[in-house]
Amino acid sequence: MSLDVNMSVTGNAPEALNVQQKLSAALGLAGIFIMSLSVFNVGFQPQALWLTLAIGLVAVGIVWYTRASYAGKTAGIKNDGVYFKSLTNRGLWAYIVGVVFTGFYIVLYFYPGLLGLNSSGANTGVISLFDPLSQLMAGRPASQWFVYGVLYTLAILGFGFKFLWKYRHNSYQRLRTFSVMFFQLGFAFIIPELMARLNDDDFSLPYYNIINIWPLNYYNFEQYRVDEFISAGDIGIALLIFGILSILVITPILTYKYGKRWYCSWVCGCGGLAETAGDPFRHLSDKTQSAWKLERWLVHSVLVFVVVMTTAVVYSYLNGGGYWLSGGAFLISVAVLLSVIFGWAMLFKRQELKKDARYAAIGFFVVIMALIALHFSGMTSKVFLFEAETLRSSYGFMIGAIFSGVVGVGFYPIFGNRVWCRFGCPMAAILGFQQRLFSKFRITTNGGQCISCGNCSTYCEMGIDVRAYAQKGENIVRSSCVGCGICASVCPRGVLKLENDDPKGRINSKDVLLGNDVDLMDLVNQNKK
């Protein structure tokens, strides 16, 4: 027998689930089953009762499952058997769940009719099951997005509860989990639904979840929304300005002080789902160098795409006139902003960028500027060669639906819980850029204490090979790090600590670690310089 083959395939692993876990899982699935049956217009009446029952079963199932998993155990890291379970080790169950999730997202995005959304007439199917709740909150019938919002919130709250229990010994984990549960329930779900109640014939605000910041919320500055914001008077203008300040002012300040974690693992809804429902899959992220390379190219390409797309869309309606800002002025201010950021990075942070990052930055910058120049010279009528609408709809389809939903969540059990956040999210790319070059945040390595065990790397959901830094005594300063703190939690030797401190000396590669003869350390570390 060889250990190089996964040991779980020996069939000797302990029974993956105990009786209570099985029963509670069945209970939760019964809730899902009620919802699934309602798709076929089974006619559960009264709907309010059946909906309560379905949601209640899911909630009770998760709570019971949590109890069955952790109640009898001491507080501490409980990753026992993660690689023995089919669901968490890419076994049959993982693929079944992956296919179901993926299917759900495809139906949700592309075939909402199957769920009971009718273009004319009342809802049927599972969407009608949610009508009573939607009426109660927003005073209108449910949509597929309302159904999704309820399920999404339920998942974050339920599995958040599970996470809280699993990490009950760890205040950092608990606090940030309370935080994502709070933001999801309050800002992403309840407030926008209640806001819909304010809308009537002469007053209308777009559906706005203020923690969903552009460019994650890639449609935030589209014409219909901007028009609605403006027509809604002061409150609408305030929200619009908040949306712009979020990305241009609030985000850089908070990221400078705390790293991108303030958003990615404390506030963001995508992060919230990943950290709660996705937690059992965090170890599945790919840690190889090649995956890191792919990540860098992909996530920054998406960022460029969303910048280009948004610029084109905003420009095209501003150009139509009727706004205080003209299309040309807007385009020039975008060009200036990009030039300032590019110039700053190249002038002051050049040595911190890897070679491929420099080339890519220069390449992207030159192309964007050239296109803007071409446009002003009158050589092309379209800003970025394509129609703004084409860019918008292809972004919405490829990135908004396929990448963030179908792949991002659907593939949790196969590629881990942060596929979207790592490879696709343009917001993460911006925050990561700030975190890498302009932040006080780092993960500190504790002297020479690392034993290279690999728990940190294994459980890093972003696929960072944390150990590679820790065993060199080097702090971890990576743009992708979302600061979930799990590496520090699973470390058996107390080696890692998330810290905000003076940006100087943040990156500290060492050849010889603390613990050896001081002269030797001096010598070797000097030789490097």
Partner: protein
């Protein structure tokens, strides 16, 4: 000039650190010989594979392409004889393999103290990859293994107990001493750990040692006999974890001078020219400070590798480790130590012990009575900053300075409960030497 060929026996942390550093400093040809595993892995993490936290691949700190990229040659073989006169190794394949410089970094194996039945089937240690494979055979679950007995209370014993308990295998843990690991830690800490071990359902027997391992007709262990009580404990697995010793049998036919380990001087040179030894298998002729002559610790192996690389690359350097430090984890309780804390304070030393109300966190400080120089700390359940303690030890800070500034040394995650105030108050109550 011919390229010098450095051959390293063993691809554990010592040998691999050495190889990496030689490569950084030079262009020498480097070969690592091992019969244990294809690639370097973290021995300290073996437990996590059995527990299902990780797969074997996760134990490897470097991707498999690393070795070729850095021109580190890996040879799968077992060395059976070292001929220092002709600078040749005899391999189990019959091949002769020559070297210009030889480094022995072959590590440890687990101790057996001549117990009857110690070589029977289903008697295992927990040192090598092969030990882990054996464990998977004899204790895959609690149907095959209805009870396991672990002999020897130390770091590996408690790891093995934790591993088996994750598969719901009942464990009896025989510890010869009156308190757990009290050859190294004071009784106060030992008692914290004893409670914690028992909390996990482990049948911990203090003051109990092994008389013999009773085997069945297939020479497979079926029970153990306890020396002190005469009790026979039925079991399907016996784990021997009474420490480790250098794995040097294959050197007995060579001219290299051996004692418990391969004898080396401070330059890490053995008795034979161009032969060095580092890591667990090396034994210092003159112990360094309070350190034992054989140090079977991950960190010291790494440090010897760092040092010898300098010597072999033209910058001769003595092995001169800095302040002692170590760490471990006992089930859920993390342990770190900086400087020296002995089971009982040395002559002229005093100690200060603090334990949290939950009985799962404690610190123990030893210091000189006059002047009040801080000598070392054991910390359980509270993470401390290596750099800060290293600095205090170098600067010979007083115990009062340390207690007053303890917050600076805290390395717990953000938002964790802080205990410095409690600790300071208790210190003040006991010694009345700091102003709060």
């Amino acid at each position: 000039m011919k390229q010098e060929h450095i051959v390293i026996i063993g691809n554990g942390i010592s040998g691999v650190t050495l190889a990496r550093h030689i490569r950084k400093l030079s262009d020498k040809r480097i070969t690592l010989i091992s019969s244990e595993s294809d690639y370097f892995f973290s021995r300290t993490a073996l437990m996590y594979v059995y527990m299902g936290h990780m797969k074997w691949n996760h134990l490897k700190p470097y991707e498999d392409t690393f070795w070729e990229k850095n021109r580190l040659e890996l040879k799968q073989a077992h060395v059976t004889h070292v001929d220092t006169e002709h600078k040749q190794l005899k391999l189990d394949s019959g091949e002769d393999f020559s070297y210009d410089k030889l480094v022995i970094a072959c590590g440890s194996r687990y101790n057996k103290f001549g117990w009857p039945g110690q070589d029977a089937e289903a008697v295992i240690g927990l040192v090598s990859k092969q030990d882990l494979e054996q464990l998977e055979v004899y204790a895959p679950n609690n149907n095959v293994c209805k009870r396991a007995v672990i002999v020897g209370g130390g770091l590996i014993g408690v790891e093995l107990a934790e591993m088996l308990s994750t598969r719901n295998i009942p464990v009896t843990f025989l510890v010869r001493e009156e308190h757990f690991w009290n050859t190294v830690i004071p009784d106060e800490e030992a008692q914290v750990l004893e409670r914690h071990i028992r909390e996990h359902g482990i049948d911990l027997r203090l003051g109990n040692s092994l008389e013999e391992i009773i085997t069945d007709e297939h020479r497979r262990a079926k029970a153990v006999k306890v020396k002190e009580t005469g009790e026979i404990i039925d079991c399907d697995l016996v784990g021997l974890t009474p420490g480790v010793s250098p794995n040097i049998d294959f050197l007995k036919s060579s001219k290299i001078e051996l004692n418990r380990g391969v004898l080396v001087n401070r330059m890490l040179e053995t008795s034979e020219p161009d032969v060095y030894a580092i890591g667990d298998c090396a034994e210092q002729r003159e112990p360094i400070g309070n350190r034992p002559p054989v140090e079977a610790v991950w960190y010291t192996g790494r440090m010897m590798g760092e040092t010898l690389a300098q010597t072999l690359c033209g910058n001769p350097m003595e092995y001169n480790p800095g302040h002692w430090f170590n760490s471990a984890k006992f089930f859920d309780i993390e342990y770190q130590t900086y400087g020296w804390v002995f089971p009982t304070p040395k002559e002229g030393h005093d100690d200060f012990y603090w334990e949290a109300e939950d009985g799962k966190k404690c610190i123990h400080i030893h210091f000189e009575k006059e002047p009040r120089i801080f000598k070392g700390i054991n910390t359980f359940g509270i993470r401390m900053r290596h750099e800060v303690f290293d600095y205090w030890l170098t600067e010979e800070a007083t115990v009062e300075e340390v207690i007053k500034n303890l917050k600076k040394a805290n390395f717990d995650p953000e938002f964790f409960e802080a205990y410095e105030k409690q600790i300071q108050k208790e210190f003040e109550k006991e010694f009345n030497t700091i102003e709060l």
